[in-house]
Symmetry: C2
Subunit: 306 residues, 2 copies
Amino acid sequence: MSAMETKLELRAELCEEILREYLPQADPCADTLVQAVAYSLLSGGKRLRPVIMETTGRMYGGREALRRPFMAALEMIHSYSLVHDDLPCMDDDEYRRGRKTTHIVYGEGMAVLAGDALLNAAAETALTAFDEAGSASENAAVIRAMRLLMKNAGLSGMIGGQCADLEAEDRPGEVDARTLYYIHKHKTACMIESAFQIGAILAGAPEQDIRALGRIAECTGVAFQIRDDILDVTGDTAELGKTVGSDARDGKTTYVTMHGLDKAMRDTEALSEEAMTLLDSLTGVCDREEQAFLRALVESLVQRTH
Amino acid sequence: MSAMETKLELRAELCEEILREYLPQADPCADTLVQAVAYSLLSGGKRLRPVIMETTGRMYGGREALRRPFMAALEMIHSYSLVHDDLPCMDDDEYRRGRKTTHIVYGEGMAVLAGDALLNAAAETALTAFDEAGSASENAAVIRAMRLLMKNAGLSGMIGGQCADLEAEDRPGEVDARTLYYIHKHKTACMIESAFQIGAILAGAPEQDIRALGRIAECTGVAFQIRDDILDVTGDTAELGKTVGSDARDGKTTYVTMHGLDKAMRDTEALSEEAMTLLDSLTGVCDREEQAFLRALVESLVQRTH
């Protein structure tokens, strides 16, 4: 295990701890739902989004107390999107990471409510950051972070991407290059953008760095998705944990079926290089070790083999 | 039509206008979802919740610009809860107010996303109130209103009530009096509480009035629900628009099957009287006409015959 991977694991454990701290509670009358929410949220996973937020926050010397509610909130949004995505009327998945999905364990109705409860809890949790804000500028940063979080999760962000993806599945022949990029960017990169930018915003990072982090997030998120399409063609079935070539057989339009394998590989390379160059150009960083960790993490995401 | 009903209709039109103003937009790639959201939100209805918020806001001389985003947000939350409630895995309704439900028109997957998008848009919309806040105290009021809005919509509020209701339907014999009250209070009264209190909070009403409005909301919401159970037994099928006695035939536990018709009628009477007494005791009201309108509106809700 590399030093980056060790640090990533340690940091994921911190995220687990934070998620347990902010786990929604309710009256015993709603106990089943509280359980369904806990089952959905505490399901393992790499906790990539809050780990990135923690890292950009530390890079700029931000206060942990202000950041923790947003780390929990971002993962709650990610978790709700998976619960609803797994529903029979969406992707219809019975397993995720080797565990039964929420609707298999608690029923479809309860899974719809668990997703709703997680999205709602995300907003409630992020709002508690106002209790931690100790100055007018921190207060303003919380408002800005809150607005970015919800925008990137909503119709102009993740949910918009999910809509386009759902429609693309119904008519694969009609998907054009712009729509495919829209799906990759909105379904994945928008939430990554929240992870990169909110840590920096709460820490009072310079505006030009916040902008650069936004573009780094887009490059990382889109490259990650293209990489997914590439692995479906070139990957090792055992290492990947899913059948190679399944996208093509499902008639799904991917970056590779649309642009060819060569261009897909060239484009991830270019996106990866752009992200690295931007990461090295940040001006307000006060913790170089964190910056190096983020660099290694981004590299592993865009060059992953499984 | 009474003066109250005329004013109610006029005010509902104002709410329609506000909803149209805050209607979520997105990229053309997510156009189907934008349409599904508009179809769900602009579906008529009495707009009771934003009308109440407008009224308590005016009662205390609050600024409309601060209130409008919250009026839209509250109705978006109400609307999303109906879209998800109508899904086949929940109440499985094909029609609502004489129109096909969202999942019938746009499909189940799109209806799940439309509900998610509306809840997310509610948070985004309410957050725009920070742009309107012109002082530290208005800023603090927006934070407080935002937290109340999300709390009353979530696991400690409406979603908690929906969970208990969903479970009660599966095992009607096991529902006790406390659970039934919990369902009535959380599924309905919590959102009514947001309507009553947020208008007053944003207007800077005295604390004791905000507290009283919370209790008025609880009395109104619970009495409204008990009234619903009474009408299922005593109502006129034609006037009611649904078959009288359907709850009892479905084996559903209602306030009437649990406590008997006499106690149900006495209890709505007592709740109604408590609400009226509290409404008359408010200390910080600066617009008596609005107070009288609210009184007439509450009366019509708890004494409704259809």
